[in-house]
């Protein structure tokens, strides 16, 4: 029965892919009062691809994510997710996100399993009582990121990399079609980074579109299909290998403007 449902959703997605980008950003500008944070950003992300966004602090990476997920209202431009508005896509459970480590209260009394199960809330009834399927998908996601032995731990009792993997598992359990990952490799050990890259590549091969901010060019060629350099606007867009060319990096990270 579930196989059937998955096949149905696959065909539906394939049909969508032929004419609709997983994520389409057109002419996006964001202002904070008089300060322009993002200017005329155009970005297309297709299903099954991973796109890395690079930029300095204050380059507008977080602003871009906030605009995509509807936390802030853009002053111009549109965001379409799978052909729908952000709000529609969120109601349909298409959009998944992984928060930055600094924005999470690590003392909060939830276990790793609790956090991953939250990925299923959108698919559950109003009282969020987990069904068999929700529990299965939760355990599967925990297994894929390699946290099975730590599933009952309070979330703050994990290492930095394990915490990131827990949140990645939540996005896996959600079965989101478009994933936004904010600095998933910040302060992460090699084991966790390798696991996460493998999981993200597997997701992409299943048709998931991944937008990811990184502060570091390491791993970028193993991880991403395309890359964007951001500095208040898109200063360069290309393959991961072309982006790390010194003259291109200088556009985003060089002195002066």
């Amino acid at each position: 029965m579930r196989v059937r449902a998955q096949q149905d959703s696959l065909t539906r997605n394939n049909r969508q892919d032929s004419h609709e980008a997983a994520l389409l950003i057109e002419g996006l500008s964001v202002d904070y009062g008089n300060l322009r944070a993002l200017s005329d950003v155009n970005l297309r992300l297709d299903a099954g691809t991973v796109c890395a966004v690079l930029g300095m602090n204050g380059s507008g990476k977080s602003t871009l994510f906030k605009a995509i997920s509807g936390v802030i209202r853009p002053s111009a431009g549109t965001v379409r997710i799978g052909g729908q508005s952000t709000r529609q896509a969120q109601r349909a459970g298409i959009l998944g996100y992984m928060p930055q480590a600094e924005s999470v209260d690590w003392d909060f009394p939830v276990s790793v399993r609790d956090v991953v199960l939250m990925g299923r809330y959108g698919a559950m009834g109003p009282s969020r009582r987990p069904r068999r399927e929700d529990k299965d998908l939760t355990e599967r996601a925990i297994r894929i990121v390699g946290l099975t032995d730590l599933a009952d731990r309070q979330i703050g009792e994990l290492s930095g990399g394990q915490k990131k993997r827990a949140f990645l598992a939540r996005a896996l359990a959600q079965q989101a079609k478009v994933l936004l990952l904010d600095e998933p490799f910040a302060g992460v050990d090699t084991v966790s980074a390798t696991t996460m890259i493998r999981v993200l590549r597997d997701l992409a091969s299943e048709g998931v579109a991944v937008l990811i901010t990184v502060h570091d060019i390491e791993n970028i060629d193993r991880l991403a299909d395309s890359a964007v350099l951001l500095r208040g606007r898109v200063v360069y867009q290309g393959t991961p290998t072309s982006v790390v060319e010194p003259e291109n990096l200088a556009l985003a990270f060089g002195g002066g403007q």
Binding site: Q90, D105, D114
Partner: protein, 298 residues
């Protein structure tokens, strides 16, 4: 007098039965709500709302409305004003809370002084537990039932809201709506607890049980059992002490809850201060997986 008589004797008086039932209901509701308040950092908001309902209570008396209606209006009004001042000016939340609740409380004091003989200020400020009428009790039962039903039905969403509002939004929930539910229940809860312990001590019932449970458990679902249990035990002991020692009932209830917190703070398993001091002398626990140092940006 044997132990059984000691326990049952207060129940021979109708007013004592009503006092005990009202207090225990308020204790359970406050305790459940307090689990989220201490986790969202909204403890002070509980203090603010409990004070801000005073003008509503006075007006309700004067106009002959039910106690709860006036209090709810002003509770919601206070929360809206705090949010409004914070969002539309440079004033930060703690200052906004301070301004709004003291102003509304002051309005309440003024209203009390112009509606003579109808409202006893002492009853509002320190509670009027022994004066709970049968009608009051019906109202308390109704409010507690509604509030508990909402909280327990929405408990997973509220926990998600407290933990990660960004994810709540991402899966199509409205963090603003969930926050409003919590605040609406807070306003009604203040009405219930007002009668039991009064304006000044409401905040204790809204913070202490949740904080105590937090020290005892790393699991939200267990906290939701521990907090009401602690609160009920503290309230019962407090009421008996107040009956036999002839001391203030509200004061005695809160003092007992505070004492339980102090005890837990000192000797709770794992978290207790005593054990932590002992552990500090032993070898430090190593983290499970060493993290590579943060990489430098390009």
């Amino acid at each position: 007098m044997n132990l059984l008589e000691l326990i049952t004797q207060p129940f021979e008086y109708g007013f004592m039965v009503r006092a005990i039932v009202a207090t225990l209901l308020a204790a359970v509701l406050c305790a459940v709500l307090s689990c989220w308040l201490v986790l969202t950092g909204w403890s002070l908001l509980g203090d603010a709302v409990s004070h801000a309902v005073l003008p509503g209570v006075v007006l309700a008396y004067a106009l002959g409305w039910p106690f709860a209606v006036g209090a709810s209006i002003f509770g919601v009004l206070a929360v809206a004003m705090i949010g409004g001042v914070r969002a539309t000016s440079r004033v930060k939340e703690d200052a906004a809370i301070g301004i709004v609740f003291t102003t509304l409380f002051a309005l309440g004091l003024v209203l009390v002084s112009v509606t003579p003989s109808q409202v006893d200020l002492n009853h509002i400020i320190f509670g009027n537990l022994l004066g709970v009428s049968p009608e009051d009790l019906v109202q308390v039962v109704g409010l507690v039932a509604v509030c508990l039903a909402v909280l327990l039905f929405k408990r997973k969403d509220l926990t998600l809201f407290a933990f990660d509002p960004g994810h709540a939004r991402t899966i199509g929930l409205s963090p603003r709506l969930l926050g409003s539910i919590l605040l609406g229940v807070l306003a009604l809860t203040c009405v219930v607890a007002l009668q039991a312990v009064g304006v000044v001590l409401v905040v204790a019932m809204l913070v202490v049980p949740g904080a105590t449970a937090r020290l005892l458990s790393q699991s939200m679902s267990r906290m939701l059992w521990i907090a009401p249990s602690v609160s009920v035990i503290g309230s019962l002991v407090g009421l008996y002490l107040s009956y036999y020692l002839d001391i203030s009932s509200g004061g005695s209830v809160v003092l007992c809850q505070g004492s339980i917190f102090a005890l837990v703070y000192l000797v709770a398993p794992r978290e207790g201060l005593v054990w932590r001091m002992i552990a500090r002398r032993g070898p430090r626990q190593q983290p499970l997986e060493a993290d590579a140092p943060e990489k430098t940006a390009v």
